[in-house]
């Protein structure tokens, strides 16, 4: 466990190395990047193997940083962090594998990529609110360059919109955190200390602080109606960046809501709960409905991400252990699934067919030309629908149960979202891969074969698929970490009830 901070250092170090190496050879940069993400993920898995849930965060590193302001370099992890760290490592490794074909400015690409990863690892490991915020902001700027330099549709606009929304969200968070810090006597930024101080704030202060901090984080999590950056940005981004952005970075926002906003200001959550829940439901339904009418393949996935993150936010808003554990599980599940979907669309399909418009794709017999992609997408699509057997199902079930316990109406509305997800997934599956299933004669070879699936792509896809199936059949693997963490004293004020 104590080696977990090295995930951060390795990532930043790898970024510098990749930048230096990339000037000489693109291949060197790739291998350095792969080695870095794999090593970091290895550290996480090793920590996971020996993880014993304790009563809250377990400290990994703690040193005074700016004593006069009460800022400490405090890294710690619990079951929730660990789950998300596993996700980060997985998504990062798969992302590097799916970026193997980047030729332009490869060193810089991987430098930005690894810096982003380092920032994400840092967020999940921070136990000091200031440090949390620092890593959160470090993760913002590389996103701009990844999208603007190597992206596709409307990339400069998409990059700017994504980054400005993220930064605006983080500005809100900064405002709220500083307010809390100042109101608490400006002694410490430790999450525990802030929570203790916040217990004495006036009701009005708690409401305002919660609103600022939660909203700021929720923007990054794609809360309706502040979600519009997500489809634009994710579509504009290159594949590996989309995988990371939709898969992991959106979870930073949700994690911030869970780790910072909710435990610090429970009164605030109690007040704003219905608003958040209905906005989340709106996101679930609206995201799904919009996905249903898209013509661009990638936009469908982009909007589906908004819909899935709506589930996460609903789970958090329900404010009980069951729903929150479902939310964290959904974070993991969606991270893997979104990665898979973007990989298929961006790398496997677009790089070969050079089109993402469903109208054009349905004229190609893709299930014959790219059978691996078709199968992968079918499986990923099923997982995205919440089909039992894949990781989305136990997550959505837990969220529905938890939401039902708080307000049955929310659960009913969310179940509608499950149906809409099935509809748009099936539509895009059919149009993209099986559109011309009728016209191709049985035994004829396709006219122009497309480039074969590379081993790197296969490895990445199989890795992600395996993850979603394993967690779908045995969600206990993760829930055994998540639930004790949610039952720790830190969350007691805001989450109701332990598991039955």
């Amino acid at each position: 466990m104590n080696l977990l901070p090295w995930t951060i250092y390795l990532s930043f170090g790898g970024a510098a190395l990749a930048l230096a190496a990339g000037a000489r050879s693109a291949a060197a940069a790739r291998w350095i990047a792969l080695a870095t993400v794999a090593a970091a993920w290895g550290l996480v898995l090793a920590a996971a193997a020996g993880f014993m849930p304790a009563n809250g965060l377990q400290t990994l590193a703690d040193a005074a940083w700016v004593p006069s302001m009460g800022v400490r370099y405090h890294l710690a992890a619990d079951g929730i962090s660990l789950t998300l760290l596993v996700l980060t490592g997985l998504a990062a490794t798969a992302g590097v594998l799916f970026s193997w074909n980047i030729e332009e400015r490869t060193g810089e690409f991987f430098a930005f990529y690894l810096t982003l990863i380092g920032g994400v690892y840092g967020v999940f490991l921070s136990a000091d609110a200031f440090l949390f915020f620092v890593f959160y902001e470090i993760a913002i700027v590389p996103k701009y360059f990844l999208i603007a330099n190597w992206g596709s549709t409307n990339r400069e606009y998409g990059a700017m919109k994504l980054v400005l929304y993220s930064f605006a969200g983080s500005a809100l968070v900064l405002a709220g955190l500083l307010w809390a810090y100042a109101a608490g006597g400006a002694r410490s930024f430790e999450l525990q200390d802030l929570a203790a101080a916040a217990a004495h704030f006036t009701h009005g202060e708690q409401l305002g602080m919660f609103a600022l901090v939660f909203l700021g984080f929720a923007v990054l999590a794609g809360l309706f109606p502040f979600h519009t950056w997500a489809p634009t940005g994710h579509v504009a981004a290159p594949t590996a960046a989309s995988m990371l952005l939709a898969g992991v970075v959106m979870k930073l926002g949700a994690y911030g809501c869970l780790r910072v906003a909710m435990p610090l200001f429970p009164a605030g959550l109690a007040f704003w709960q219905p608003v958040i829940a209905w906005l989340a439901v709106a996101g679930i339904v609206y995201g799904g409905l919009v996905a249903l009418v898209q013509d661009d393949f990638k936009f469908v996935i982009g909007y589906s991400s908004v819909s899935h993150m709506g589930f996460v936010l609903l789970g958090l808003a329900a404010a009980n252990v069951r729903a929150a554990s479902g939310a964290v599980l959904q974070m993991f599940s969606h991270g893997v699934i979104a990665g898979l979907l973007f990989a298929v669309v961006g790398r496997i399909v677009y790089d070969r067919t050079h089109t993402r418009r469903l109208e054009e794709l349905s004229a190609l017999p893709l299930h014959r030309l790219l059978p691996f992609a078709a199968v992968t997408f079918v499986l990923a699509g099923l997982a995205s629908m919440g089909m039992p057997g894949f990781s989305g199902f136990p997550a959505e079930l837990a969220i529905l149960i938890g939401a039902w316990q708080t307000a049955p109406a929310w659960a009913a509305a969310a179940a509608l979202g499950v149906l809409i997800a099935a509809a748009f997934t099936l539509r895009v599956m059919q149009l993209a891969f099986f559109g011309s299933a009728r016209e191709v004669p049985a035994l004829e070879a396709p006219a122009t074969p497309l480039p074969a699936i590379t081993p790197a792509e296969k490895a990445g896809a199989i890795l992600l698929l395996a993850a979603t199936v394993v967690v779908g059949l045995k969600p206990d693997l993760l829930l055994n970490w998540i639930t004790p963490a949610l039952q720790s004293p830190f969350f007691q004020a805001v989450l109701k009830g332990g598991a039955p």
Partner: protein, 513 residues
């Protein structure tokens, strides 16, 4: 016998076959078909083996497998077999291989076809054997996916639309059921059917759900009901069925009507009735009408079809609705004073028997229509054929037997089930039985019309040209079913004996909590 996880084997051998086919893309056509057929037959083999050691006197679950699985959701890997499941397993074991045999000549991508089919078979078996909602729902949902692809990729002209309608409709119902079970778990902390049934019997389930207040307890019942009703299908949730059955390729239609429709009915018996006896009783008045609607309107609609496949599809709706008619009649009569258990037992017994018999006869009918279609160059209109009997006498004979079985001719298997149902329902809700007879009448009309138009008379249409009689393969596909039709018509106790104690137990414990 103990120690071997028979039930898991039943489910997973077809899946293993599917996996094998998936990872060996270069297997030749023959090998693919043989492997698939073998895996499919394994179900029958296991079923017969279990038949041998099945304790017919017991009413509880046998060959139970129960392992802790997901602690966080209190989920156990719980499989069990009782009389009801056993006959459905046997049914699947019979229908699936014959469906595969019916698709033997399928040339388009046979490997993928067999693979999907085996996956479908395994999932259906899982539905019949699972006793905890978590994996029951996994199997329930997973059965939709191969069915969707089978219809879509190998189906007729409007296959895509039909497949979509099928899956969206069913998933809508499943979403309702998922929500309902989430609520049930929230209230009780368990998803196990046996435990929930126990809670319901003692009245605790009703109390816990009532704690929600408002209309939510009814909503929970409605959610489970909708999920199952769409699958059966119960009128008026049936609109997906005729296109789906009509557009699907022959083998798939056989399996859909033979096995998948039974999944819905099974759900009513295994889940809805034990868990919600009181709400079911309260709603049974309206539900009886719905079942009758399916019976009568299904038959009338069939009569008006000119497409033979759609005719058989509507007839399926009609026949399956009899099972639900019986169940709802029993539910309506529950708690009524002066009720003897005899009509209830008859109705329930008839329903179970009807499940099996309809599975046999309907799949046989679809096969016959499939033969007509293939001989007729893709045409399957009622007016497209004439005088086939003189061209293919064996075929006409076997088809006639299947048709009569579906009609309910005494001496064939269909009669016993329908008779028992009507006898029971007459004792419980006489007016319903009377209205249902209308269905019987109309069924007879359209089936006889079908037979007369297609097989009798001068040779016309497709029947006029080259019309070979049944090949060896086709005969082999049809013969077992036909034989069983005779056998079960004369000796229905072969089946009834398997579930009689169970039915007697149900009928003897008709109380509201």
């Amino acid at each position: 016998m103990s120690g071997v996880p028979w039930l898991s084997l039943i489910i997973f051998v077809p899946w293993a076959g599917a996996l094998l086919l998936a990872v060996r893309p270069r297997l030749g056509g023959r090998a693919v078909r043989l492997l698939a057929l073998l895996c499919s037959l394994s179900t029958l083999a296991f079923g017969l083996a279990l038949l041998g050691s099945f304790d017919r006197a017991a009413t509880g679950y046998q060959f139970v497998e129960d392992h802790a699985w997901i602690a966080a959701l209190n989920v156990h890997y719980h499989l069990g077999l009782d009389g009801l499941s056993l006959i459905l397993v046997l049914l699947t074991g019979l229908v699936a291989p014959s469906a595969l045999l019916a698709s033997w000549r399928q040339e388009r991508d046979p490997r993928l076809f067999q693979l999907l089919f085996l996956f479908l078979q395994g999932s259906a078996l899982g539905v019949f054997l699972a006793l905890d909602f978590f994996h029951w729902f996994i199997f329930w949902e997973l059965s939709l996916v191969p069915a969707f692809f089978l219809i879509k990729l190998w189906g007729g002209g409007a296959a895509t639309r039909a497949a979509y309608q099928f899956i969206i409709y069913t998933m809508a119902g499943s979403a309702c059921m998922l929500l309902a079970f989430a609520a049930i778990f929230a209230a009780t902390g368990t998803l196990d059917f046996t435990q929930l049934a126990g809670l319901a019997a003692s009245g605790a389930l009703g109390v816990k759900l009532a704690a929600l207040g408002g209309f939510w307890p009814e909503a929970v019942f409605l959610g489970v009901f909708l999920g199952l009703a769409v699958k059966v299908p119960l009128f008026p949730f049936h609109t997906w069925l005729p296109p789906a059955y009509a557009e699907a390729p022959t083998g798939v239609s056989m399996f859909l009507t033979g096995v998948m429709s039974k999944m819905g009915v099974y759900g009513f018996f295994r889940i809805l009735w034990p868990l919600f006896p009181a709400p079911l009783h309260a709603a049974s008045g309206g539900l009886l009408w719905l079942a009758l609607g399916g019976v009568v309107l299904g038959a009338f609609a069939a009569m008006r079809q000119s497409d033979l496949k759609r005719m058989v599809a509507y007839s399926s709706i009609n026949h399956v609705s009899y099972c639900l008619l019986a169940l709802f009649a029993v539910a309506a009569a529950t708690g009524r004073s002066g009720l003897t258990s005899e009509p209830a037992a008859a109705a329930l017994s008839g329903a179970l028997l009807q499940m099996f018999n309809h599975g046999l006869s309907a799949s046989a009918l679809f096969f016959c229509v499939g033969v007509l279609e293939s001989r007729g160059g893709g045409r399957r209109g009622l007016a497209e054929f004439g005088g086939v009997r003189s061209a293919a006498p064996v075929f006409a004979g076997l088809c006639g037997i299947a048709m009569f079985s579906s009609l309910g001719l005494p001496g064939l298997n269909g009669f016993v089930g329908e008779f028992l149902i009507f006898r029971g329902v007459f004792g419980l809700a006489p007016w319903a039985a009377a209205t249902g007879c209308l269905g019987l009448l109309v069924t007879a009309i359209f089936l006889l019309t079908f037979y007369q138009r297609v097989f009798h008379g001068p040779r016309a249409g497709a029947g006029a040209g080259e019309f070979c009689d049944l090949s060896g393969l086709e005969t082999a596909t049809l013969a077992p079913a036909i034989a069983l039709m005779f056998l079960l018509g004369v000796l229905p106790q072969l089946l009834i004996g398997l579930y009689n104690p169970l039915v007697t137990f149900w009928a003897g414990h008709l109380t509201l909590p």
